[in-house]
Symmetry: C2
Subunit: 236 residues, 2 copies
């Protein structure tokens, strides 16, 4: 296996991307050029190219004369996320049902089985990365250069938000993950059958489930209260 500059560059890109998606690098964290350059055996020139690419894709933000930071996840960002996500996800699922080819469907199935494995024995990172890849493939199936940039940005933040609840805290959350996996299977069927309406509807269901999961994490007390139960032991 070769280890030229091109390969090291790709490895840097993949590593940063992964670390950001899994919250190993948290929103707002500084990114040090010199340290990274040394760590990956690159000079600062190609390193900065990677940083600029990641900035263009929404993973990090580059400030004038003040280096790079992992992209923020502010309150406003979350609000935008909740407003935009269901719309884009539904549109992408619909287009995917229309345009998917056999190769892509195979890859989607492989990724879904990886997601299932991660649900059983994997880490929170594994789950999130497999889930993100699953939805990214659906984006590729949709085959729209116009929608893809929006989907990618949604997936970045969905992944980061998801990292905080993919390690289930109670029975309901664990059940939700199982349900999510089921919906993935159904979505695959719809796409394979070319049923655009069903795919779009499922995407909305899938979103609602994810939204519930997020809300359950953000406000566990109010949820428990609403359920009329005392705060359970494993929610502490």
């Amino acid at each position: 296996m070769r280890n030229d500059a091109k390969t090291r560059k790709k490895k840097l890109y993949d590593a940063l991307r992964r670390d950001i998606l899994t919250m190993d690098r948290v929103p707002g964290a500084d990114i040090d050029e010199v340290t990274l350059a040394e760590a990956f055996g690159l000079s600062r020139t190609p390193l900065r190219e990677v940083l600029q690419q990641l900035a263009g894709e929404g993973y990090i933000s580059n400030r004038e004369n003040r280096g790079s930071r992992v992209a923020d996840l502010s309150h406003q960002t979350l609000r935008d996320f909740f407003l935009t996500a269901p719309m884009i996800y539904a549109a992408v699922a619909r287009l995917a049902a229309l345009n998917a080819n056999a190769l892509q469907i195979d890859e989607l199935k492989r990724t879904q089985s990886e997601f299932k494995s991660a649900l059983k024995g994997g880490s929170a990172q594994d789950r999130t990365l497999a889930n993100t890849r699953f939805h990214e493939i659906i984006g590729e199936m949709a085959h729209s250069i116009y929608l893809m940039p929006s989907l990618q940005r949604l997936l970045i933040d969905h992944s980061r938000i998801g990292m905080t609840f993919n390690r289930p805290r109670n029975d309901k959350m664990a059940a939700n993950l199982a349900m999510a996996s089921q919906q993935h299977d159904q979505l695959i069927d719809c796409i394979e059958a070319g049923d655009e309406d069903a795919a779009a509807a499922l995407a909305v269901d899938h979103w609602n489930l994810s939204r519930d999961q997020i809300e359950m994490f953000v406000m566990p007390q109010s949820l428990d209260t609403h359920m009329g139960a005392a705060i359970t032991a494993n929610s502490a």
Copy 2:
């Protein structure tokens, strides 16, 4: 006025962006690093930064070891464009009506009056740039970091497609431009009033008009045939 590297870099960015939007640089055209670097008094390092940024935004495409080209406008691209544009435009207009602030509305009005001036005495470039800026501001009003990348990509290609028909070829096309300007005015009113449904509906109308204009250019004969009239003198 200062003329440091930072300024020259911004000028390069603006010039390339403008040239691409106005088709002064056509899809697929090569971009020569050395020539540009000399022309703008920059070394290749910051120049390449600009090229990478433009690539991230969809203006150009950077191929491995083979330089940059103005982003293509293929048949497939056009198909994607027609599928995606109405959805995004409607969503953006709706969000703009919900979120626009006074400063942005002022800027939108100023840009609209620039558009009107361009319709009277301006060049096709002026019209296209003012129109593109108009819709970009609506995107800023919508205030969604998730939708903006998609909108920007749509506007790039809408601008480039528009450049081919903003110099009206017949009476119908000229009338359409006047109608488009009217719709801009109405859209401003809706946004100012915070009427999201009306804004979304108008965005769809506006899209339909634009689509008709494009079709009129792409297939002038078939249109004339459909209208049951002989091909007019000024369509030759």
